[in-house]
Symmetry: C2
Subunit: 139 residues, 2 copies
DNA sequence: GTAACCCCTGTAGTATACTTTAGGGTCAAG
DNA sequence: CTTGACCCTAAAGTATACTACAGGGGTTAC
């Protein structure tokens, strides 16, 4: 059995994060020692790495909670998980599109800027001031 | 002279947003009427559109404050503006890279998923559980 | 004169994923 | 028996860009 500090070290998170995950229902409420300390089975480290990996591909903690429910739901099917992943995939592609448009605009502007001369003749500031907006990405 | 509501309508923002911008130092403190109402010159609408356009290409309000300072700073040069834009450009490219990696991983996983069968045999959940993480995008 | 609409201030709430702080017990070593 | 490392709870703070709310006054049209 592990103390919270052991789990934190092995899982690569802080003890505060672990308590936060518990509070958010992402890890099972652990049993307590006589002194009130949380006692974890070693498997919980794997569980935490699941959470971290899911975060790494863009899932929020809320998403991850759903994923974890599916994992233990006997009625759930693989397509349920796939649907979450596909949904996340479109979210991410949407973000990439928005950012790509920003990148293109900024890139155009920085290329147009001679980088010398006073701000009064700055094409970037001019572009920002212009009435016709080429960007208008997301909002 | 315009009331705050007129500016809001013409600038496409809410009156609360205008007061917020003022509080953040993004728009000059306007003069007040005898009744205490803010009175704006029509030029402020352009100013607000500058802010919105800058947001559209990824600048934060803090960034925008800096840009606005440069705009009125006689000692500032065009390259100062360009530097901000280039800096923002790398930030955005960095975000795109992170998101692209997430997209690639998710895409691989969803393609590997047969979408039938129980969650106990889900390749996506397996991937999340695996000890070797292919993702590890940003954090 | 009253309803509908505008304006004012200051404070708190929203979302996300934590981190920090305050205040206080527990444990192992020397 | 004290020092340092560890554990506990509950509440508040962080960043960003607003939005909402409470409570109150001004203005315009009928």
């Amino acid at each position: 059995m592990l103390n919270i500090g052991d789990v934190a070290r092995q899982g690569g998170v802080s003890v505060e994060t672990l308590r936060y995950y518990e509070q958010q229902g992402l890890i099972e409420t652990p049993d307590r020692d006589a002194n009130g300390y949380r006692k974890y089975a070693p498997e919980v480290v794997r569980h935490i790495q699941f959470i971290k990996r899911a975060q790494d591909v863009g899932f929020t903690l809320r998403d991850i909670g759903d994923l974890l429910s599916l994992k233990t739901d006997p009625g759930a099917s693989c397509s349920d998980v796939r649907d979450r992943a596909l949904g996340k995939l479109s979210e991410i592609e949407e973000k990439i599109d928005v950012l790509s448009r920003m990148r293109d605009v900024l890139s155009t502007w920085t290329n147009a800027c001679p980088s010398t001369g006073p701000v009064s003749a700055c094409p970037i500031l001019d572009a920002l001031e212009a009435r016709k907006g080429p960007a208008n990405a997301d909002r």
